[in-house]
């Protein structure tokens, strides 16, 4: 069970703060679509970070 329940009608706890969540997603999207580093390298960094913090998602 999630430690913070999603709001009614949602499956994501971050929907408790839709403006913050949207701002985060805009930043996250910009990180993937901006700059000269190719997406494969960014994905390798993302996967390495997830492995180091043991995030199975």
């Amino acid at each position: 069970m999630a430690r913070i329940s999603p709001p009614e009608g949602s499956f994501v706890f971050l929907d408790h703060q839709p403006e913050q969540y949207a701002a985060f997603n805009r930043l996250y999207g910009a990180l993937w679509s901006t700059g000269s580093v190719d997406e494969a390298t960014k994905e390798a960094g993302r996967l390495r970070n997830a492995a180091l913090v043991d995030c199975g998602l």
């Binding site: 703060q17 403006e19 701002a23 805009r26 990180l31």
Partner: protein, 156 residues
């Protein structure tokens, strides 16, 4: 005293310098910061968590910054001087201790955050506030880590 981007940029901030090279990311980074400080959580509680995260990561620039909204809400240097003693200091109540306990473990070992710690936080704040606090701590952690990584002067 320097302040966060929601006020005036800090001098000698390597993260600000790097973000200046990528305006599209800088603008969205600042938009996310603004959303975090938009009032969903007490700015005093946010500032306590931000400074504690910066201190643990030895982010000297971040530790010295003061967020205008937090100062306006009553954060003082005397309060922040007490921050390392938060588990026992009478300056901090149950809400602050619950938030700071999770903020510290977010930095040190996120898997060490327990159900009981989250339940304690949720006995002091709403689920919406806990969500905002989680996003804020994630931003503070990323900001301090990026700033420390980008800082010049590390030679070994």
């Amino acid at each position: 005293m320097p302040t966060l981007p929601t006020g005036t940029e800090a001098a000698n901030d390597p993260l600000a310098d790097a973000l200046g090279l990528l305006p599209a990311i800088r603008d969205r980074w600042h938009d996310f910061e603004a959303a975090v400080w938009s009032g969903a959580v007490d700015p005093v509680l946010l500032e306590l968590c931000r400074v504690r995260v910066a201190t643990l990561l030895r982010d000297d620039v971040g530790s010295a910054l003061r967020t205008p909204a937090a100062v306006a809400a009553g954060v003082t240097d005397d309060l922040l001087d007490e921050l390392p003693s938060w588990p026992v200091s009478p300056w901090f109540g149950a809400r602050e201790r619950a938030a700071l306990a999770i903020a510290e473990l977010f930095v040190i070992d996120a898997h060490a955050v327990t159900d009981a710690m989250c339940a304690e936080l949720l006995s002091n704040v709403t689920e919406a506030e806990a969500t905002a606090l989680t996003m804020a701590v994630a931003l503070f952690d990323a900001t301090s880590r990026a700033r420390v990584t980008l800082a010049a002067g590390v030679t070994s």
